[in-house]
Symmetry: C2
Subunit: 345 residues, 2 copies
Amino acid sequence: MTATPTPRVTIKDVAARAGVSKGAVSLAFNHKPGLSEATRDRIFLAARELGWSPSLTARTLAGSRVDVVGLAVCRPARVLGLEPWYMEFVSGVESVLAEHSSSLLLRLVRNMDEEVGVQEAWWRGRQIGGSILVDFRADDPRVAMTERLGMPVVAVGHPSLTGGLTSVWTDDATAVTEAVRYLAALGHRRIARVGGAADLGHTSIRTAAFDEAAGALALAGAWQVATDFSGDAGARATRSLLTAAPADRPTAIVYDNDIMAVAGLSVAAEMGLRVPEDVSLLAWDDSQLCRLTHPTLSAMSHDVHGFGAEVARTLFSVITGGEGGSHPVPTPVLTPRGSTAPPKV
Amino acid sequence: MTATPTPRVTIKDVAARAGVSKGAVSLAFNHKPGLSEATRDRIFLAARELGWSPSLTARTLAGSRVDVVGLAVCRPARVLGLEPWYMEFVSGVESVLAEHSSSLLLRLVRNMDEEVGVQEAWWRGRQIGGSILVDFRADDPRVAMTERLGMPVVAVGHPSLTGGLTSVWTDDATAVTEAVRYLAALGHRRIARVGGAADLGHTSIRTAAFDEAAGALALAGAWQVATDFSGDAGARATRSLLTAAPADRPTAIVYDNDIMAVAGLSVAAEMGLRVPEDVSLLAWDDSQLCRLTHPTLSAMSHDVHGFGAEVARTLFSVITGGEGGSHPVPTPVLTPRGSTAPPKV
DNA sequence: ACTCTTCACTGGACCGGTTAAGGGAGTGCG
DNA sequence: CGCACTCCCTTAACCGGTCCAGTGAAGAGT
C-alpha cells in the first residue's frame, strides 16, 4: 500500500490559521484547561474551516490512548456466516464502542496459534488498546499470552476457563439444567442434546451439566452429540438420533444454537415426524430465526446484544485501569413456543 | 483509555542489540536491499530474542502504508445479525486481507451522514488505507466524499449508482429477469416479489427489472412489496400477499434474501398452504439456510464469499495505484430445489 | 598509486500529534 | 513600588518508526 496524493491538513495548519501554536490546538481538542474561551473558539473555528480532525495515529504514537478494540474470531467462515450470535454480539459491542468513538478491529483466524500471533502483533504494534477474547478452550494459550503482554482484555467465558482474566459469562450449566428439567417436567424421559464444537470450553460445561441433570433426573435415555455448529451437522445429528426405533429414540432434543435447531425441524419433517407431537425441539440463543419457523421454536433465550454491550463496557473499564473480576450476566431463560410439548406416548 | 505499564521494546533496542542503527533494522524488516545477509540475520535474531515487531502506528505515521481497510455498515443491528450475506461477505474480504496481513476496521452506523463522518475521520486520521463501501443509494453522498478525500475505495454496487468509483457488482437486473422467466416458464402467471429496503439502489434496480420482466411476459398479476429485509417484514408481506382469494393471489413469490423466504415458508405453512403445490417460493443469496428448511428453498445463488474476496482484491489493486473501473462478477444462477414447481391449477 | 564505483551502513530530519517546563502579562497585596 | 501568584500560551522534547543524503571501506579500472 502506498501513500496518497491528498494534501493532508495537519495540526500545524490549524494552529497557523488560528494564530496559535500546535500545543494550544492540542489543548483545545483534548478539552484541557489552560486556554481562554476566545482562543478555544478561534481554534475550533479554524479546524472546522479546514476540515481538520486530529490524526489518531499520531495521537496514539504520542503515547496517549488507542481507540481501537480487537476481536479475532476463530471459527470456519461457513459456520460464522450463519451464526446469528456473532453478528448480534458484534453489534452489541459496537453500540458501546460508538459512544466512545472507537472502532472494532476484526480478524477471522484459522486456529489458536494464529489468533495468539494476531493479538500479539496488534498489541505490540499499538494497533489496539485492548481486546475481546472469545471461544475459550481448556488450557487456553491466550491466558498466558495476556499476562505476558500485560494487555487489557475481557474474556468471554466461564472463569474456570479464563484463568485470572477479567471475564464476562453466562451460566451455561444452570441454563442446560433448566432446559433438561423443563423437558423432564413435560414428561420427556429420553432427551438428547446436539452440542457444539467439542473443543470449546463452554461446550464441555454444557455437556457436563447435561450429564449431571440427566443423572439427577434418572432419565431413561440421554444422548449427546458434538457438532461443528453448522446446520448440516445439526441435520446429520438429528437424523441419526431419530432413526432409532420409536421406543428407543429421544422424544426431545436440545440444540446448542438456533441454526441446528432449524435444521433439526426440517429433518423431523422430512422423516415424517411431527413437532412437537413426536419430538420436541429446543433451540439455544433465540435469534429472530426461532420465530420464523413453523412451528416456532422454543428456545433458551438471552440478550446477546446486551451481552456484547456489557463486554465492551467491561473492557473500557479494564483499559482505564478499573478493576477486573468476574462479571456474570443473566442466565438464559426458557422461552416456550410451538416446538415443545409433552411427548405423545 | 490510558497507556499501559508494559515496557515496550522499540526499534532502538533491537538496533542496539544487533549493534547497528535504527535505519538498518528498518531496512531489514522491510526486506529492502542494502544489507549483507549476515547483518540481516543478526537483526532478525535480535528482534526475535527481544520479541519485537514493528509498530504499525509509527510505521503509518512515518508515511508508508496503512494496513487496515475500513467497512462501515449501515443497517439496523437486528437485521444484520440474521443476514447471512454480511458475515459471508466479511469472511470473503478477510480471507484476502489475511494474505496481506491487514485487518478490517468495522463500524456499525445508523445513517448515511454518520457513515460519511466515520469514513472521513478514519481517512483523515490515517486509520485506514482504503475502504469498502456497500449499500449504495441514489445520489449517494459517498461518491462525492470519496472524490473530495481522494481515498482509495471499492464500491459494492452497480456503476449507475457508484458514479465514477471503482465498483464490483452483480447483475441484479439480469438475475431478477431470470427468476421471473423461470417462474413463468413453470406456468406461473401471478408472481410477487418481496423486495428489500426501498432506499437501496440495488433494490430499485431489481424492482425496475421485475416490472420490465413482468411486462414483457404479460403476466396476469405482478406485485412488489418493499421491506426492511427482516424476517418479520418478510412474514408480514407474505401474509398480506397470500390472504387474497385463491384466484387473485400470487402463485409464486420471489424474495430479496434468504431470511424473508424462510419466513415466507413458515407463513405459508401457518396459512395451510402447501409449498410448492399452492405457492412457489424463491429465495435470494442462497446461504446454507436454504438447504435447512423443509421443503428446501429454491434460490438465486451466488458465491458471496468469493464476491467479498474479489472486492478485497480490487481494493488492494486500487490502493497500490492500479486502475479502477467496473468489475462485474458472475450473475446469480438459479438453483431449483423443493420450493418451486408448476402451479397446481 | 590514483580515481571511480559499488556496497553496507549511519545520522538525522520528519511524520502529526502530546506534554512538561517555561515565560510574559496582568492582578492583588504589603 | 516590588513581589508573588495566576492565567494563557509557547517552546521543544519526545513517541517509534521511514527515508534519504552521506560516509567509509573494499574492489575495479587505468
